[in-house]
Symmetry: D2
Subunit: 302 residues, 4 copies
């Protein structure tokens, strides 16, 4: 099967206490473990050890993202392909990162540090495995059930799209084409969702945002209520994407990283043809209701 989901994002934060307070109280993630300069968090319905790492660093941004693979053999396959492609691949031992099993680490041609990991320690969601209710009651903040995707910037979206499709077996769901025929953005999946990873033209190694899954449009409203209650700056939304069809809010954590809550979208068959958006429809493509992109969306990234 290869890659089957985004495992975690490791985020740089210049104020670890402030960021932890925000991610636990406003977003409602659960703190799983803590080291002097890192805090490990998970969404309530995730079983794996963590899906977000907050890492002390002088400037905000993405340290690395990790995708999970199905079989130990997958690591060998991808290590070989990546090496052949020209990436320097480093083997990671189980436990080198808390909760993580065996893995490989490399820098993608987009300038991002990426990891593939085979096994992750299970800490369980908040429910029993026998006769569970559908959800706990009274979780704090937005409490998304799980992380959804990461959205990265890079200079050469065409080349990067080929890389993720050819080397890592991602499938292209949607693409935004400049009038001169090159791709401005690509949406890629391994989980039959509209995207587990997306790329947009911008600086090498940049993070546009990372996103959490919500149950439905009503949960998007509830998230907006919670964000506004806490005075969190909303970048855009609640609104709908043309690309992915998803419902969304973009907003910023207190140190400058853009977050998204996302739901909706569609089931993407592995044999489906990708959807193409043309640059003149870029407004609708990104924000379907507004039909236009706010300047901040284009300008801000970390």
């Amino acid at each position: 099967m290869g890659i089957f989901r985004l495992g975690h994002v490791d985020i740089r934060v210049p104020d670890l206490e402030l960021a932890t307070a925000y991610y636990t109280e406003v977003l409602g993630l659960l703190e799983v473990a803590r080291e002097p300069d890192r805090v490990y968090l998970k969404c309530w319905d995730e079983h794996d050890h963590h899906s977000v790492v907050l890492r002390y660093a002088p400037r905000y941004g993405l340290d690395h993202a990790m995708y999970k693979v199905d079989a130990a053999d997958d690591l060998d396959v991808y290590e070989r392909r990546l090496t052949d492609y020209g990436c320097t691949v480093r083997r990671m031992s189980p436990g080198e990162e808390p909760g993580m099993g065996e893995g490989i680490r490399f820098e993608s041609p987009t300038g991002h540090q990426l990891e593939l990991v085979h096994r992750v320690d299970k800490v369980g969601n908040l429910l029993p495995k026998t006769n569970p209710p559908p959800a706990p009651l009274s979780l704090p903040g937005i409490h998304p059930p799980r992380i959804d995707h990461v959205f990265l910037t890079c200079e050469d979206v065409d080349g990067a799209t080929d890389f993720f499709m050819d080397i890592l077996d991602f499938r292209l769901t949607e693409q935004l084409m400049a009038s001169d025929g090159h791709r401005l953005g690509s949406w890629l999946e391994r989980s039959h969702s509209p995207h587990d990873l997306a790329l947009i033209t911008g600086p090498q190694g940049g993070l546009h945002h990372f996103a959490f899954w919500l149950d439905d449009w009503n949960a998007v409203r509830a998230a907006a209520d919670i964000l506004a209650y806490h005075g969190v700056r909303i970048d855009m939304g609640p609104t709908r994407h043309g690309i992915t069809r998803g419902y969304t809010i973009y907003f910023f954590d207190p140190v400058g990283n853009r977050n998204e809550v996302f739901t909706g979208g569609y089931w993407h068959d592995p044999d489906a043809e990708p959807i193409t958006w043309t640059e003149d429809q870029m407004g609708k493509a990104i924000f379907y209701y507004e039909g236009a992109i706010n300047e901040e969306f284009l300008a801000v990234h970390s």
Copy 2:
């Protein structure tokens, strides 16, 4: 009981065919009657003859708004009070406007033509009076069940608020106060909803928008889908008001009148104290999620 609901808005449109197509196909109102220069429309769940009149005129804007009163005596009471206040009041005969019963017409101190009408011909909603289903299926467009309120501009909101409260028995639900102590806006009700009428500082006789009721937040989403599908320009939303707590989209009809779809809010007891908003919180007051007002909201009115 006196006034118990907004009856109709009579809107000026420089292109009657274009406006009719929009109000019937995108908003999904029903055409009830037509004259050479006027089209009479209603929402599906309204029983009265019409709630919107499109009237040919060279420039967009509000011709007049009508509120319904409970008893024939109410007309006498309000005629006397209005005359004492200094308004010129004109009696309207039944049938002078299609479907309308006896009424009075006057210019309010805000510079708007307003009517009070005692009886309106019943044309029925689209359901039988015996064993009705809860709603028809397959209505076109947004198809709001009913009109909700009208939002007017005037130069002296304090004076106008007193007028509507003292002379017409409106109750104040919320007020937006400038730092110097005068009112920038007032929200007034006769139906226990957050507002049947609202006033905001601006030109005398101006229309900021008129609004249709929707069932819930999900209907707001569906409305946004329909607006975007038809390429209608959305001014703001889907979002939430701080004032009224309501969920909203603002958008423009093809000739320049601002429409709103609105839902949520609260039940307002007649003995409830009004809520006060201070000018420094005006952003949250108007658009709770954004915490800021877009320039268009302030600038555009008809």
Copy 3:
């Protein structure tokens, strides 16, 4: 204006601690005051002193229901009409019941103790009156914003309907007619909602249920989740009524009183014609989705 809302229900409970735990933790009402044998509760968005009284008594059921009137004069008018009708009316002094102003008490021809009260002490909802957020965060349980209606049983629905319409100025919104032409049920309003009071054929003085308002269909789902989580017995729903069009769940408090959570419905103009349901469509009238009434609905009342 006369009566404008249901003020409170006073409920008999044989286990005051158990009932209080249920109404505060599962329903999520707020405890306002307590006496040795009574607990006073309110919904979060109500401003008045209380809307539910739990009263120790050996058997469950309704002690009395209270409706609020707009003006002190209303009490005189209704006292006179009630006395003329043949009811024994007792004046109630302010403070005779905690938080209540001046009032009158009488037994209606349905066998119920009813009160009309002019003023109720304001304790406020949980929000400031200046620049309030739309709602508090993290309220426990179902936390309905307000009480909605009470549904009573009596032997002579036709006579009772006349009484509430003629003497107390209720307006008929819907009626369920037996094939022989007498009414099996009546739905009556004073607040432009589908019902502030309803009557169904059954024992004199019986309580079928009392109901709390919820925001929308999604809140009905959340309520069902909370009820099931706590193992509360659900009688019917989530489903929809034909009568009122409302969305509903019926369920029982731990001592046997039936509760409802309700939302939806429609705006009822005071000049609207009532809707009639025929006995052969009684299933759809009560439970529109099922098209049939469960036996418990008919059999159980308190």
Copy 4:
């Protein structure tokens, strides 16, 4: 990857016209092709040729179900495994069934005719592949975006669960265990959803129901409105499953086949542990809100 989704169900109907009218007008499927004794239907957001076949037959029930596989090689692998297991496997030529590519057909140990197909003709959803809106407007009936799962009865759920896991690589998400330790039901997935296939104790070769995906709880309400409007008999719901956490309505087509509309649930990681339900909690497991199973649910199958 192997099997990645339920492709189609082929349903026996004794009245082809009546069934076609129901599936196109009430469920809102699209007719793709027609033969004298078969009608081919699809959901609006599916790209493949069809997902439902209505086949004239004297008695209702399931003729066969088809799952799609990712690669031509998958057919070889499964053919070999099935043959080794003892199944008689028949190769199907492309076009043997309208729109279908190469495939294999066999009888599972549960007594059902199943097919695996490699390629299916693409007919497209109703949207363009360039700059599409998120959905068409004004689709008739319930119009689910896609088929979701099939629920089968068999005598030996334990043996059948092993078969689907060992031979066809399904993953177990949940299981309902009798007090004596054998499985009463199994929920199995290939698409990271709670189930693409489920099994419950009952007659060999029986169909309990097949299910369509809906967007959210609000779409479940809208479906209930449409079903009730058309007088379709609802078996259960709107309600929630304990198993799968999904929101659901069960109802019957006019010839006796049980349909479901389903949404919600969770993302199932391929390395997740299954959830176990015990027989004493069977009520909550199947209908979480009611906590009990209606007799019809157990008794009726086709």
